[in-house]
Amino acid sequence: MIAAGEPAPDFTLRDQDGEKVSLSDYLGRRVLLVFYPQDFSPVCSDQLSIYQEVKPEIEARGVELIGISVDHPWAHKAFQEKIGTDTRLLSDFEPKGEVARAYGAYIERVGHANRSLVLVDAEGAVEWVHESPTPLEIPGANLIFDALETVGSDA
């Protein structure tokens, strides 16, 4: 898994609306990348629903929330509608899992990302990382707030 202090690998992926999004588009802002296994799985649904509830508080701290999984943009669109989230979801679809691999968040034997959080600072460097022990374990939103209080600036 990538570590704090390393440069965050840039990428360009399509979001749920088919729009191309690069990490470098966010230079000047802090971004929290949420790698998760799969759209529609019960655990992923719970995780993204809980994060949606606290998204305004995360954004109020100057941090943009972005989800990434190996699902296709059309699946992301349907998943967004199903769980009522407006969090931008990026499609690490083809080559499958390439971005998750670049961050060390990909699990080869199951073919999807582990549940991992990567906070990227305004200059594009990794500020903080959390990797779940298993994909079945959701990182509570408390971890995000704890990280935002202890690392970097809440600009």
């Binding site: 649904s45 719970d46 509830e53 009522g84 408390n142 707030f145």
Partner: protein, 131 residues
């Protein structure tokens, strides 16, 4: 708080089917149950209204009656159904209506939710024993 025995803090969502299924089992435990509001609005859009109704009923001493009833009959949770319940529990309907729309009630529900986030709640129902 309801019941006797060891304190059991329950974070629950009144719009959540898993919570409804788990509520009966929770109520059968020998425990003092502390209910904390944890509405996940994105998944259950009606949840905030139901939590506000429970809190408003609580202001007239009928909190757990409202919670039990909402979990027992999940198909009847629109406003007229809430009014029926309020009447059945002998609540002052005008006060119930004012309370469930009050900012302080929404703030109370949000405080509970945020305490759950701080406690690391990642799904409902979530239960903690402080001891």
């Amino acid at each position: 708080m309801r019941g006797e025995g060891e304190t059991l803090i329950v974070y629950a969502d009144l719009g959540c089917p898993h919570c409804a299924a788990g509520w009966l089992e929770i109520c059968e435990r020998r425990a003092s149950v502390v209910f904390r509001h944890f509405p996940v609005t994105s998944k259950h859009p009606r949840a905030p209204a139901l939590h506000a109704a429970a809190e408003a009923a609580g202001r007239q001493g009928r909190f757990f009656e409202m919670v039990d009833s909402l979990y027992a009959d999940r198909g009847r949770v629109d406003d007229p159904h809430l009014w029926e319940r309020a009447e059945r529990f002998g609540l002052d309907l005008r006060r119930f209506e004012a309370d469930r729309r009050a900012d302080e009630v929404a703030a109370r529900v949000r405080r509970d939710f945020e305490s759950g986030i701080r406690a690391g709640v990642i799904g409902t129902p979530a239960m903690y024993s402080p001891s």
